[in-house]
């Protein structure tokens, strides 16, 4: 299958379940909300080396937020609810509470599987924190130096899907990067997903394991152009650059929609992209298999796809 002269590999991205939360961060201005969201999602690209995977999902208009101020929604993923709670408490405590004018609310309903965030951070108030309960939700108001930090006690969680991915291969680094940026821009318009790597793009794709026992992951030698001739390669002749986009979503459908959007926007033969593929572990790692050909066939988007 091809899109605009770019080969779409007949393969699948292998994704796995992760627990997710959505934080609604508000501030007096959109700029401070954005700053806060970016800070909260810092150092959260991959659970290979971080406590969580996180990124800004989208910006929110004042009428979309609980306190009527501009905001951003941040999705945070971790391997378990306990790990997610730890990461959220640290990230909200160190990156949201510290940020001028902000407040933080749960963007998912807090059912039985909720994690305690404001309920842990309240102790920073040293006894001067104020609890407010309204319509079944509890908020903590913690005195800080510019007034108060408001944080919801419980944040709802859901079982999300992490590790969806696209891998773009091409002949020219600048061109492939631009095509990948355009794919990222299209994928970020899909709700309920994040692309946690810098600018949504990873250049250091990894494989499981290493010759060094202490490492859980190491460079994906099969996709490293400079190792051609030394190790088995997956790179066709002429490919000199590979970029990966990792997708975490609240649902499998959201990850599939983002995959479709990325395939259409990233298939830029004019920028030197020759093929788009996806990473998997032969089906041994995760239960979710996102087949590139299947998502393209089931999408209604105009493709220009050829056989």
């Amino acid at each position: 299958m091809q899109i605009g002269g770019v080969k779409i590999a007949d393969t699948f991205a292998e994704a796995f379940p992760m627990t997710a939360a959505r934080a609604i961060v508000t501030a007096d201005t959109a700029a401070w909300a954005e700053t806060c969201g970016r800070t909260m999602a810092g150092y959260a690209t991959s659970v290979i080396g971080c406590d969580a995977e996180a990124a800004i999902e989208r910006t929110l208009a004042p009428e979309e937020t609980p306190d009527g101020r501009p905001g951003v929604s941040v999705l945070v993923f971790a391997f378990s609810r306990e790990a997610l709670e730890k990461a959220m408490v640290k990230r909200v405590g160190q990156c949201v509470m510290t940020c001028p004018t902000t407040a933080c609310y749960s963007g998912l309903p807090a059912g039985e599987k909720a994690i305690k965030v404001g309920g842990s951070l309240r102790y920073f108030g040293d006894g001067w924190q104020i609890s407010k309960r309204l319509a079944g939700r509890r908020y903590w108001r913690i005195p800080v130096m510019d007034g108060e930090f408001t944080c919801e006690e419980l944040f709802g969680t859901t079982k999300g899907v992490a590790g969806g991915n696209l891998i773009l291969l091409g002949t020219d680094r600048a061109g492939v990067l631009r095509a990948t940026e355009e794919a990222v821009a299209a994928m970020r318009r899909v709700p309920d997903v994040i692309l946690p790597f810098p600018g949504g793009i990873a250049r250091s794709g990894s494989k499981v394991g290493s010759k060094y026992k202490a490492l859980r992951a190491s460079t994906n030698t099969a996709y490293a152009p400079t190792l051609r001739g030394l190790v088995p390669t997956e790179l066709p002749e002429g490919v000199s650059c590979v970029y990966e986009i990792v997708i975490d979503g609240l649902t499998l459908e959201a990850v599939e929609r983002a995959t479709t959007a990325g395939l259409h926007a990233g298939a830029r033969a004019d920028l030197g992209v020759t093929a788009i593929t996806a990473g998997n572990y032969g089906g041994k790692l995760g239960p979710f298999h996102i087949r590139l050909h299947d998502v393209l066939k089931s999408s209604a988007a105009p493709t220009g796809a050829g056989g």
Partner: protein
């Protein structure tokens, strides 16, 4: 079955309305409802002697109509369902209720919502003294739930309340939140003297004042400067969802804050509005 009960004005004796709540009539026919015992003076009569009872209209709600000022305790300890009242009612409307919704299209006597534990009490007219307050000798007033008053309210609103929300569009008398332990009372009108006196924690939110809070606060409240309170927007939006409209001119962006009552720890707060703030 939905039931409508209409007061016939058949007695001048005080009537104990505690049986008048949706649960009483949940599985009854109209005839059975007419035979429900109700206390009048020091005796009991059948409901049908005082009220016209008719059914129909679908749903499982209860509607009570007429001049009910002589009926006290309507909806007392109500736990579920919806009850609509058309006409003024006596004391203790919804007192100690723990769930459900009472909608009063009229005014209520004293002790409405007293020691309430949950649910929502909506009063379209005025409320008397001791709204959401504790009974004499009791240590706790309202403990949970929501009271909305479109008109005015009397003295000692929310006295010794422990939790919950009271919102009043009109003026309130003296002693608002007196001895308050926690919870939130929001008043859009004028406030009588000694508001918050002896309050331990809790919030008195007076967003339509213009820096006049010193006039009615006791001296044991400490001014704490101007204060942005974005969390109030959460309250405003929820109140709007409950049908209690907040005027557009009212803002959560900046309020005067007073901490008190410092005689007993000072963890309560009075947030008073700044026009154009």
């Amino acid at each position: 079955m939905s039931l409508t009960i209409t007061w016939r004005g058949a007695t001048a004796l005080p009537v104990d309305g505690r049986t008048l709540k949706p649960a009483t009539f949940a599985v009854m026919s109209v005839d059975e409802a007419r035979r429900v015992a109700i206390r009048v003076g020091n005796g009991k009569v059948e409901l049908g002697e005082l009220f016209d009872v008719r059914g129909g209209g679908g749903g499982d709600g209860l509607t009570i109509e007429g001049d009910l000022r002589g009926v006290r305790g309507i909806g007392r300890r109500m736990a579920a369902g919806t009850m609509v009242l058309r006409g003024d009612v006596g004391a203790e409307l919804g007192a100690e209720m723990s769930g459900g919704i009472i909608e009063l299209h009229g005014s209520a006597g004293p002790y409405a919502g007293a020691e309430m534990r949950g649910g929502r009490l909506s009063i379209r007219g005025d409320a008397g003294d001791h709204l959401g307050a504790a009974y004499p000798g009791s240590r706790l007033g309202m403990r949970e739930g929501v009271i909305l008053v479109e008109g005015r309210a009397g003295e000692d609103v929310g006295a010794v309340m422990r939790r919950g929300l009271i919102a009043i569009r009109g003026d309130v008398g003296a002693g608002l939140g007196r001895g308050m332990i926690a919870g939130t009372a929001l008043v859009l009108g004028a406030v009588g003297r000694q508001a918050g006196a002896g309050m331990k924690r809790g919030s008195l939110i007076l967003p339509d004042l213009d820096g006049q809070a010193e006039a009615f606060l006791v001296p044991t409240f400490a001014p704490a400067g101007r204060y942005p309170a974005p969390f109030l927007e959460i309250y405003y939006r929820q109140l709007e969802a409950w049908g209690f409209a907040i005027p557009r001119a009212i803002s959560s962006r900046m309020l005067h804050r007073y901490n008190g009552d410092v005689l007993i720890g000072g963890r309560g707060e009075v947030l008073a509005g700044i026009r154009g703030g």
